[in-house]
Symmetry: C2
Subunit: 193 residues, 2 copies
């Protein structure tokens, strides 16, 4: 049992990683642990909007571990223009290190879930990626565009980055979102173009 305990204490570090968005009404940045919880719940509530049949339990399993690599790399703003190949390589190395703390089959299962999410090819991974992308947008829409304004992210960059995965993974959610993003643009919630 000790390897499992070592693992669960190691992933406690995810609570110390900071994202760019703040919980509603809070003057601190959220961390990927509470974010992972929120999108796991979101996936449950939106499962009926998936464009085809999905195994929502499998989506949740992916979402619970999808950010664990950030323990070593930190979070990068979705809209960063940096070297994503290098970053993803580092995150994969981190995932291998951390899941490698577990007994073989359990660690391999988590790594497979992590890779499935990153590849974004299965119906479940597509839906999971839509959940991951939409949550900070929903928070920003409720939060006067906090992370968009603080980081100078324009409407065009947001739409370019999030429209494809959300349209693919949960098109009904994009239909909900598109007019609200347009209204947010008119309200000045984004950084300059």
């Amino acid at each position: 049992m000790q390897p499992v305990i070592d693992f669960i204490l190691e992933i406690d570090k995810l609570k110390s990683v900071t994202r760019k968005i703040k919980p509603l009404g809070q003057d601190r940045f959220e961390n990927p642990a509470e974010h992972s919880w929120q999108i796991a719940v979101l996936a449950t509530t939106l499962a009926s909007y998936a464009p085809g049949p999905i195994d929502v339990d499998h989506v949740i399993a992916m979402l619970l571990v999808h950010d664990i690599g950030e323990i070593d790399t930190g979070d990068t703003l979705t809209f960063a223009e940096g070297d994503w190949v290098e970053r993803k390589r580092d995150e994969l190395a981190a995932a291998r290190r951390i899941f490698g703390l577990l007994p073989g089959p359990q660690g391999e299962r988590f790594l497979a879930l992590w890779l499935e999410f990153e590849s974004g090819e299965t119906a479940e991974a597509k839906f999971a990626n839509a959940m991951d992308r939409v949550m900070p947008v929903l928070l920003n829409l409720a939060n006067d565009g906090q992370s968009w304004r603080e980081n100078g992210i324009s409407y065009a960059r947001v739409v370019k980055r999030i429209a494809p995965p959300i349209q693919t993974g949960c098109p009904a959610l994009w239909d909900y979102l598109a007019p609200r993003l347009e209204a947010a643009r008119e309200a000045g919630l984004f950084g300059a173009e």
Copy 2:
């Protein structure tokens, strides 16, 4: 879709509730959102130690929503001696209010999961309760007994409160824990008896 969005923004408040324990190496209290994430992962890794067959996906579904009532009531120390009947009544009212934001069947499913966890009668609920109880103990053991010392919680109170649910829900975990709690007592990690 709007009711789902209202719900997911309402439960964002769980990130603002404070528990009594601090994430390792952090000078802030953890919140039930990141705690729920961590015990959902823990349940996955410990499922093979359950005393009988369990549906781990069902355990995870329970754990993701089990603390949502605390949005209205706040967290109470597990070892508090106060009026638990009143407290649980208030938490149930909160759960009904918050899950009631969702369309009927979805809200009813979450409320059923919440009630199943609280009742602690099914094999899944017993295992889920063991996960919920053990996590702060594991953190305290790695954290010099931070919340035990800060709140004057004795070894006897901890054992009285956590031994039954952990022995019931995941006996192998209790076998792991018992000698470590004894060692922590000798090391002075608890409050006075």
